[in-house]
Every structure is written in structure tokens, then in C-alpha cells.
Symmetry: C2
């Protein structure tokens, strides 16, 4: 699209089903903003490891964080190539044939080299941003991190430069002959459900906060 | 646990929060059986790639499949090290401090080398197993794959030998001083919701099948 920054690169060129791919920035950002968990891939001695992590999008970069003692965070710190993937599952797709069963989904893959955020104020803003990614408005309700807490936290940033989005939507592809079969075809919508907030019973009796009063993900 | 096969290995030794880790076979299998999407990590020229894939557990192995033309499947075929991660998100965890915010989750990481399944009958069983992993009983309702369809499908198997499970549950860790703050603490349960099946309107008018009559994931 005209005027839309392009996020394609040789590393994320879409090899298969290019009609499902999109480098459009707004699509990439919407998927990243709706997701809660990223799957982060790193390589250690030739072996890939994929671990679930909380994240946030902050403008044109992804923020990750974790304990300074974690192997994953120490590996990322050393400037290793990384892949961050966020997937939203939208539906189970039932075809009349086993072969054409599928899933509707939206996913984003971001590759690059993550850099450690060292400035203490930048770390403080990043922690607040990650909290607010998961629960908008929550950072202002909760106590900000102390300097000691920030020193235990490794914050990493990954530019959203080499990124691609992929999406499947709609019903199953069907072989014309299969439409005469006595087999049901359609989709089962899949969504992420959020239950009633459960207070932990510790501390003072405090009403459910504003950040949870109408909780939901953007785009849903 | 006595009598439970151990799935630990040097590659999957838990480095951090060992109290959240489990190599108990039953825990690994329950998480794999409940999940719908795996995040599969491979390495291409030193760069990790993490892609969402449908999968199934079949006894003591994981089954993956895709088009024979996909780069991912061709890379796996060559005997490259792989990491398959399945994550179930259970709750958002709100602490009185930003720092102690967390998520409750269960995840399994399986590493190893995937092998191509070449025998046509074994491929046929694998495709049915993957369909039944997503929707138990569905394989018997839908048309089995033709030989031509099977030739377009690459099936890979990965032994569940080097595997570990990780889990976080319960409320936030709190600093004692934070319990006097006027800030709500607790959890928001997260679950995967399945909507009413939507027929695609193609072909004959067929009632919603038995496989969808009480659809849900095992363990929920």
C-alpha cells in the first residue's frame, strides 16, 4: 500500500502460500497488539530453542524482558539472531476430506538481533509498556519498579524491520467431487476467553480496578 | 516419580525456576494433548525461524505435517535439529507492583531431530491422527486422503524423548510491604473458547457432526 512502510526483507520473504502473506505494517502491528504470548526462537550450539515470553510492541520495536539470570536472556544479550513469532488462532476449519482440514489464524514473524536496553529510565518505561500491553492502564495502577528490581530485569528490544504477517481465513478448500459427500463442512470459531477477575485475598480489600472493568484484546 | 519414564536430557535441563519444571511424562503428554498449535523452531544458515504448525501426539512421538513444497518441511526433512513448543495460557497474574506481574501457563518444549515418514500407510494414519488430535472422531467422518493427496503431504515424526514441561500457577509473588498498598491483586483466568459451528453452505445440507456435538479440549 502506498505510504505504508514495508517490512519485507530477504529473510522473511514468503516462500509458500504468498497469498496468505502480508508485509503491510498495519497488519503486522494489529496482530502484535492483539497477542499476549510470543514464541521466541534462539540458537544455542546449532540447536534451536523456542520459549514462550511476554512481550510488547512499542512503536517500531518489540520489547522482551526476563530475569538477568535466564539463559535465554543472556543468549539474546550477546547479539544472537532471534525469531519472535506471535500467532492468533481464529477457527478450526472442517473440510469434507481429511486432507483439506485446516485452521484459520493470523501470525507475525519478526527476525533480527535483539539489543539490551541498558538505560535505567528506558528499562522503567519498557517494564511499564509490557504491563500495559497485557492490561492497558495497569502500569499506572501498580507500583513502579525500584532500582533493585530493574537491575534484576533484562530488557531487550528488537526492531520490527524484518517482519511478515500471514493469515488464513474463510472456509475449507474443497474438491468439487467432495461436495456431494454426506459430510459436514464449516468452521468452529476459536477465541481467547477472559474469566471474572479473582482477587488473591492478600492485603487490603480493594475493588476490581478500572484496567479490568472491560478487559479485552484490541481488535476483538 | 517412580515408574514414570523420564524425559529429561542435557538439552532440556531446566536452567531457571526449576520449581516450575517437570519431566514427568504424564504432565508432558497432557499439555501436548490439550494444545492445538505448536511453535516449531528450525535453524537456516544460523538464523532461527519459528512457525506455527498443527501437530498431534501419537504415543511417544510428535507428528507434524505440511506441504512437501514448504521450506520448513524440506528443512526438517534433511534431519536438522528442531524445537517444538506448545504453550497453554491459563491466567493473567496481577501483582501490586509492575515487577511481579506474570502469567500462569503450562508449556512443553521438545527438542530432537525430526524424521520423514515415508511409508504411505503410515502417512495415512498420521494424517488421520492429526485430524483427530484437533477434533476427536473427525477422521472417521471425513474422506480419507487419496494417494495423490498423500504424495503432496510431508509427514514428520519427532520422538518425545528430550522434553520438559514448565508451569506457573497461583497468585503473584508479592513483597510484604506491597500488601499495604491500595492496589488490587489477583488473576484473570484465560481460556480458549469455541463458538457455534458455522456451516460453509457448500454441498448438501448435513447436520452438525457428532465430533462437534460437545467439542472441547482434553483436560479442560
Amino acid at each position: 500500500m502506498t505510504g505504508t512502510p514495508d517490512t519485507s526483507s530477504p529473510l522473511t520473504t514468503l516462500k509458500r502460500k504468498p497469498e496468505r502473506g502480508s508485509h503491510e505494517r498495519a497488519v503486522v502491528e494489529a496482530i502484535l497488539d492483539e497477542g499476549l504470548v510470543a514464541h521466541v526462537g534462539i540458537v544455542v550450539d546449532g540447536q534451536p530453542f523456542v520459549l514462550p515470553m511476554v512481550y510488547a510492541r512499542d512503536g517500531d520495536r518489540l520489547l522482551l524482558h526476563g530475569s538477568v539470570a535466564s539463559r535465554l536472556l543472556r543468549t539474546l544479550d550477546a547479539g544472537t539472531p532471534v525469531c519472535v513469532t506471535v500467532t492468533l488462532l481464529d477457527a478450526l476449519v472442517l473440510a469434507r476430506s481429511q486432507f483439506h482440514h485446516s485452521m484459520n489464524y493470523r501470525s507475525v514473524v519478526v527476525v533480527g538481533v535483539a539489543q539490551r536496553v541498558l538505560d535505567l529510565d528506558a528499562c522503567r518505561r519498557a517494564v511499564a509498556r509490557i504491563v500495559d500491553h497485557v492490561i492497558p492502564g495497569r502500569a499506572a495502577e501498580a507500583r513502579p519498579p525500584t532500582a533493585a528490581e530493574l537491575r534484576q530485569t533484562a530488557v531487550l528490544e528488537l526492531p520490527i524491520e524484518q517482519a511478515s504477517a500471514k493469515r488464513r481465513a474463510g472456509p475449507a478448500v474443497e474438491e468439487p467431487d467432495d461436495l456431494t459427500l454426506d459430510v459436514w463442512g464449516g468452521i468452529v470459531p476459536v477465541s481467547t476467553g477472559f474469566g471474572t477477575p479473582e482477587p488473591d485475598g492478600q492485603g487490603a480489600d480493594v475493588p476490581v480496578p478500572r484496567s479490568l472493568s472491560a478487559y479485552g484484546r484490541p481488535g476483538t
